[in-house]
Amino acid sequence: MTNPNNATISTVHTAEFTSGHALQIPTLRILQDDGTIYPGAVAPELDKETALKMYHSMSFIRVLDERMLAAQRQGRISFYMQCLGEEAATVGSAAALDDKDMIMAQYREQGALRYRGFSLEQFMNQLFSNEKDLGKGRQMPVHYGSKDIYYMTISSPLGTQIPQAAGYAYAQKLRGLANVTICYFGEGAASEGDFHAGLNMAAVHKAPVLFFCRNNGYAISTPANEQFKGDGIACRAVGYGMKAIRVDGADILAVYQATKMAREYALETNEPVLLESIAYRLGAHSSSDDPSGYRSKEEEEQWRKNDPISRFRLWLLAKGWLDDEADKAQIEALRAEILDALKVAEKVAKPGIEHLISDVYAEPIPELERQLAELKAHIRKYPDAYPITSGRMS
């Protein structure tokens, strides 16, 4: 018999529901809080160089986040978002990829970006929207992107990158590339219609995408238990006929292992995989948010103990790959380096006025040229009112 419904029919003769929680997906844990491996677990194969790059990417982001949140408080930048608590999830997953795998992120994945090689100067130029920013000073802070390192520029509207990742990966496949796309999004963004569209299309069209859900418990003030009623996000994969794996997002070895396995599977079969990282958004949603209005200090303290960096640090120390004193000194040096870079970037000029109309189209259309000419004449008349551009117009 044909199967027009594309559904397996196993017949029963008494009416019975299948429970909405029939499926519970286990959480992969490899690294314990004290830096040792769980009994029975096997650490993924990691060479010293990669392991240290992972560690340094995490500590870089930790220090950067601290410094830039302070810079926002001082009024030096307008906005900031921390990755606090999710450093392992973003770094560990990026470390399991090839350098030419596309990353399509949501906004809290600076760990992945750093691992890929985004420089301190590039971070700063974006944060200060100056003329050296690759995005030409057009987006709010933390909306990074770089073609060179295969990191798609962040877009604020949530979930939009999910179906795009399916399309990007499908194109990679058609081009015969041995690469996948990783698509990060929050458990909140997974409520958008684009989530369904993206996962279903990736499954139907066989696109090698790793959908990486950062379930960090909150979407701004909304706790996950007001966001969805299923068991996390991972179980949804089954509805799309897709493989899934859930990991402890504070355990970088688990994240690395799961992502590596998912990547291999996606490349081999051209099937997407859904990964879910279970972690906690330790910081505020953004510099505009104050979590004391919706969650308790006790809850935060409990999760603070689950620090993704200290766990991995202990593992590295035990292996003799990291020296305690040298590491502490390096972090102090990093603090100074970041402050210096900040001071440089904040003095770099803003983009020139021609960038008001560039990139809207490949070439400015005549009406835009007309509007720019009119604007320039206006600025010449009132130079004091437009200090950023008036002194630098040709």
Binding site: R138, P157, L158
Partner: protein
Amino acid sequence: MAKMNMLQAINNALDLAMAKDSTVVCFGEDVGHFGGVFRATSKLQEKYGKDRCFNTPLTEQGIAGFANGMASQGMKPVAEIQFADYIFPAFDQIVNETAKFRYRSGNEFNVGGLVFRTPYGGGIAGGHYHSQSPEAYFAHTPGLKIAVPRDPYQAKGLLLASIASEDPVIFFEPKKLYRASTGEVPEEYYEIPLGVAEVMQEGKDVTVLAWGAQIEICQKAIEMAAAQGISCELIDLRSILPWDVETVVKSVTKTGRLVINHEAPLTGGFAGEIAATIQQRCFLHLESPIARVCGLDTPYPLALEREYVADHLKTFEAIVASVKF
């Protein structure tokens, strides 16, 4: 009377509407316990319970569809879209469903009583995804009503009228003014009718027309013009759909000149619609071409925001040019 900022006035309007009518329900992303990211729904969950003020999952198309469903059942949902920039996932539900519910069913069903509240506009260093003014997209949709308040008093009266309206309304709130705009607001219930503009200042040389946060900008420009001996008539359109053609026609018939200001980009902006109607109705009275002072035809920028916006200096120049034409 009490001194309120715009957020307090909106909160107060929602509070009164919920107290007065048990079918009024508020929901949206972070709207419940937290009271919304801007705190417009502060304390409403505490006061009216979780059934009537609640967080939704993060899905604008879901929020709009849910609101359509509730309204079609006869309740009065006041749904918040966290930023007008994020209303687009809900575009289909609003444009194809909300707007056409009554028409397509021969009025068997309708979604009157439904209000979408959403913060719009720039001036907060928000770049292109936290600054847009999308009113013109919706103004192209018969079946919707659109209102935009300029201050706390207007916000409360227009919002209460929107909730009371038999037609669905999109209520665009100028977020730049949420805390910046304060004023005396009556504590009791009152409505400001939809579709009626307000002549805020009478004048004889030129009519200046705007809405929302641009009113403030125009007031500055008008002061500069007054110093040059130019007498401006200032109109706050207040409702974009339906818009008050007669009030504008009357004013332009008197002054012979019109300068329209809006935040949204020039091309396809609502000023074009106004200009077309006014040139037709006032052709023989016009002394100069109708001028539009608007955002540039680009996405809303970040670093070069000041250059981009329809500010008071550009408005002043347009007023002078109109008078000197």
